[in-house]
Subunit: 494 residues, 2 copies
C-alpha cells in the first residue's frame, strides 16, 4: 500500500506586515476609541460602520492595468462561476467609504450629514519597522456643509479630543492653513504649468527641514545639501520666488498679523483672498469659543499631502520632544490631520458636495501617550485561586464565583495542578496581584492563605511551598473573609 | 483635438452581501461588545486582537485547487513582482487565528492561555436575506487546560454574559452535551463505517424536527415526510438503532437522571463512559457555583456541526417565542455555541494542545434584544442651535460650546441657513430633543427661544416660523439660562 503523503505543517506566522495585539494594547486602544467617540458624539456626530470590503470602483481604483489592480490596496476578484466577477478590495481609509455611503443613502440621510467612524484600514504597501499594513483610523466628517464654521468646529473638536485622551494643553498644537491661499500664491506667481506648480509644492513641503534660505535656493538655482550632493533648483527667478517665501514666512505673533502677511502674499489673487478670508472667519469663530493660539493657530507651512483637499487643511502635532531611534531629540510630530474636500461625492453623483473632516491616527496617539508614561504597558492579571487538591475543584470554583460576583477579576488555575510551583509561575506571568491557597490543612481549620504577589513576585519564582508560606506578604484569614481581605489588599496595591 | 474619454461614474453600492450600519446600530453593538468583554475580563481572560488577514495555510486552506483557493474565504495572492506571492485571506472565524497565535507565541504566553477576541469575520458565501458576508463574533477560549473545569467555566461565563446584556433568566438556556458520549453510542452500535456514522449523526441532528419516532424510522427503513416524499432510511435494524433512541431520549427531570440514562445508552463503551463522567463533573462544578438547571442543563440533543469538537459541546438558546417571517411562532434559537477542540494547535506544532471556548453571535443577540423591545431602534439626536442670522455664527458657536462643556450633546446647524424650515426639518430628521432659536429680536432682549421637539416634531414639519414660535412647548428664557433650562427639559424627556 502506498504511504499517504502528509500535508506539510503550516507556519505559525502572520502575513508580512501584520501583527497581533495583546492585553493592554487592545484594551487601551479600545478605551481611546471610546473616549474619542464620546467627544465626536457630544459634538453631534453619528456613528457609521461600513464593511471592510468595498468595490474597487467605489474606492476610486479604476483598474487601469488589469494585471495589477491591487496597487496600494488588497484586492481580489469575486468568484461568480463562469463569468469573471467584480473586483473587491479592503478599504484603505474611512473617507472613500463615507463618500460611497453618502452617495448611496443621500435621500435618507440628514444634510448636513455628520458622522464618525473608527476601525482598521489596510494598505498594500511594503511593510517596514513600525509600519504595518493594517492600522486604526478614527474619523469625523461633516458632509454637505459649505460653511467654514464646519472646518472651525472640526479643529475645536480635535483639540478637545487630544486633551480628553490625555495630551496636556501645551503639548499639542492644531495648525490650520488653507489650500486656497496656496493656490492664490501660485496664481500671483503666474505659474500655470502643472509640472512647475507641483515642483513648487514639493519644495514648500521641505520648509520645515531646510528653512527660508533653503527653500529660496531650491526654488531658484538649486542647493548643496548636507551630504554634499547638489540638488537642482526649480529654476524660478528670485523675484518670482518671493511670494512663496512671503507665504512661508507669514506666520506672525498673532492671527491678525499672520492674516495680514498672507493677504500681502497672495497679492491680487481672488482665490487667495477668499482663502485668507476663510482663515479669518475660522480664527474668529474659534476665539469666540475660547480656543486661543495656545491650542489652534494659523500656520502657512501646513500643506498636507493629499491631492483632494480644496480649502482649509489642518494638522494636530504633538510638540513635546522624544528621543528617536538614534537617541536624538525630536518632536513627536503629527497625530491627526484633515481638511475640506469638495469633490469626493461628485465622483458618484456628478454633483459637488462640500465636505470636511479629520482623521486621527489612533496607534500613533497611543504611542505618544506611552512615550509620556501616561499608559502602563502591562495591566494587572486576575486573582489566581491555586489548586492544592484537584478533587476539591468545586470548592475553588465556589471561591472564584464569590470573587467575581463581588466584581473582582479572578480565576481558578486550570492547568495541570500537580506542580504547585507552576501555578505560582503562572500567576507571576499573568502579573496577578494575589494568589489564594487552600490546602487540606487550611480546609480543616476553615482558613485560607492569601498571598500578595506584587512585592513577592520575583522571589516567589524559585521558592518552595514552605518558604512561600512564611513570607510576611502572606496572610491567613478565615475562609469567610476571602472577599473582604482581597478587597483590602487590592485597594492597598492601588 | 480628440475629446478626452470620461471615466464612467462608479456605482454607489456596497459589494453584494455587505452592508452599512448607522447610529444606534453601531453604538449598541459597541456597548454590547464592551459589556461582554467586561464579563470575559472579570473571568480572567485577556484581550487579543489579531489582524483581519491571515495566510491561507494558517487558516487551514491548503489550496487543493489553485484555480479556486478562495472557496469559503476571501483570498488573494500577494503581489511580489516577478515570482508568485503567498496566498492571504480574511479570517472566517476567531478560532483559527487563535490557534496560529498560540502556536506562534507559545513560549511567551502563559499556559493555560485564556483570551477573548471580538471583531468582524468574513465568509465568502452566497449572501441571502439577513445573511451577510461580514459579521461580528465575540469569543473566549482557554488553551492548554485539559480539565473539564475549563468547559464548566465557559458555560457559567456564557450564562453570566447573557444576563449581563439583558436576557432575563428563564429566557435562555445553556445546553451541554459531550461528543464522547455520542462516540460511545456509535461504538456500542458497532458502527465503524465512516459513511454510516455520518448518516447517523445527520439523523440525530433532525431530532428537534422529527422527534423520536421520526428518528427511529430514518435510522431504519425510512420515512414518509410531511410533503408526502419518501426519505430513505440509514438501514439499521430496530435493535441496532435502539442506543441512538436511548441517547436522544435520555434527558430526564434532573441532571442525575439524565446522566444515569446516558450511562445506560453508552453501554460498555469506555469513551462513552468517560464522556458521561465529564458531564457529571461539569454538572457538579456548576451546581457548586449556583448555576442550576434553570440556566445550564445537560441536553443530549446538542450536536453542533463543526467536525473539530472532541469533548464537551455547548449552545446557548433563547427560549422566548418570536413570530417568524410567515407570522408563525417559533423559538428565537441559538445565539452562541462552542466546545472542546484538542487538535487545532497540533496542525502547527505537531503537539496536541487541549482547548475549549465559546463564540457569541453578537448580531443575533442584538436582534433578539430588539425583538424583546430591550433596545431602542433610534437614539435621540443632538440639541440643534438654529442659525437665524448667519453673521452671528460666533454667537451660536459660543452657545454650543457652553452646552458641550456642560456635557450636553449639541451642534449648530451647519447647512445653508437661508430656509429656516429646512433647519427644523433637519432637527426633526436627527430626532433632536430640542432646538434653540436666537433671532435679532431675541438677541436685543437678551433672551433665547427653546423648543421642545419631542412632542412637537410631527406638527413642526409644516409650520411657519410664526406658528412655531407660538406653540406651548416653546419657552423664552434669558440667554444666561440656556444650560439650566436645557438640562431641565432634557431631564423631563427622560
Amino acid at each position: 500500500m502506498a504511504k499517504q503523503k502528509k500535508q506539510p505543517r503550516p507556519k505559525a506566522e502572520t502575513p508580512k506586515g501584520f501583527r497581533d495585539y495583546f492585553g493592554a494594547e487592545v484594551t487601551q486602544r479600545s478605551e481611546m476609541l471610546q473616549t474619542i467617540a464620546g467627544v465626536y458624539h457630544r459634538y453631534g456626530f453619528d456613528a457609521l460602520e461600513s464593511a471592510a470590503v468595498e468595490t474597487v470602483e467605489a474606492l476610486g481604483k479604476f483598474l487601469p492595468d488589469v494585471e495589477r489592480p491591487n496597487a496600494g490596496v488588497f484586492a481580489w476578484q469575486e468568484d461568480e462561476g463562469e463569468k469573471p466577477g467584480a473586483w473587491m478590495a479592503l478599504r484603505y481609509d474611512l473617507t472613500a467609504p463615507l463618500a460611497r455611503v453618502f452617495a448611496q443613502h443621500r435621500n435618507d440621510l440628514p444634510t448636513p450629514y455628520r458622522r464618525y467612524a473608527m476601525g482598521p484600514v489596510w494598505r498594500n504597501e511594503k511593510p517596514g519597522p513600525g509600519r504595518y499594513r493594517q492600522f486604526y483610523q478614527c474619523d469625523a466628517d461633516t458632509v454637505g456643509a459649505a460653511s467654514v464654521a464646519a472646518d472651525a468646529e472640526i479643529c475645536a473638536m480635535l483639540s478637545d479630543v487630544l486633551e480628553k485622551v490625555g495630551i496636556a494643553r501645551g503639548d499639542y498644537i492644531v495648525r490650520v492653513n488653507n489650500r486656497k491661499v496656496l493656490n492664490g500664491v501660485l496664481e500671483t506667481m503666474g505659474l500655470v504649468d502643472e509640472g512647475m506648480r507641483n515642483a513648487v509644492l514639493r519644495t514648500i513641503d521641505k520648509f520645515d527641514k531646510v528653512g527660508e534660505n533653503g527653500v529660496r535656493e531650491l526654488l531658484t538655482k538649486g542647493r548643496l545639501d548636507a551630504s554634499g550632493a547638489y540638488i537642482d533648483g526649480v529654476g524660478l527667478g528670485v523675484d518670482q520666488a518671493a511670494p512663496v517665501i512671503a507665504f512661508l514666512t507669514s506666520k506672525a505673533g498673532d492671527a491678525a498679523g499672520t492674516l495680514a502677511n498672507l493677504r500681502a502674499a497672495v497679492g491680487g489673487s481672488a482665490v487667495g483672498l477668499e482663502g485668507v478670508q476663510e482663515l479669518e472667519i475660522i480664527s474668529e469663530l474659534l476665539s469666540a469659543q475660547g480656543y486661543g493660539p495656545d491650542r489652534i493657530e494659523i500656520d502657512p507651512s501646513v500643506v498636507r499631502g493629499l491631492g483632494y483637499y480644496t480649502g482649509p487643511v489642518f494638522e494636530a502635532e504633538l510638540t513635546f520632544e522624544i528621543l528617536d531611534e538614534k537617541g536624538r531629540k525630536r518632536q513627536f510630530g503629527s497625530v491627526a490631520g484633515g481638511g475640506r474636500y469638495d469633490d469626493l461625492v461628485k465622483r458618484f453623483t456628478g454633483q459637488a458636495v462640500p465636505a470636511t473632516g479629520v482623521s486621527i491616527g489612533v496607534d500613533r496617539l497611543l504611542a505618544a501617550l506611552r512615550e509620556k508614561g501616561r499608559l502602563q504597558g502591562v495591566e494587572h492579571g486576575p486573582v489566581v485561586i491555586t489548586v492544592m487538591d484537584r478533587d476539591r475543584m468545586a470548592d475553588y470554583q465556589t471561591m472564584v464565583a464569590e470573587l467575581r460576583n463581588a466584581g473582582i477579576r479572578a480565576e481558578v488555575y486550570l492547568g495541570n495542578p500537580k506542580n504547585f510551583g507552576n501555578q505560582l509561575k503562572y500567576a507571576d506571568k499573568r502579573n496577578s496581584p494575589v494568589a489564594v491557597i487552600e490546602g487540606g490543612d487550611e480546609k480543616e481549620k476553615g482558613v485560607i492563605q492569601i498571598k500578595d504577589l506584587i512585592l513577592g513576585a520575583k522571589i516567589a519564582e524559585n521558592a518552595t511551598l514552605e518558604e512561600w508560606k512564611e513570607r510576611p506578604s502572606q496572610f491567613e484569614v478565615p475562609r469567610d473573609q476571602l472577599v473582604a481581605k482581597l478587597r483590602e489588599i487590592l485597594a492597598g496595591q492601588g
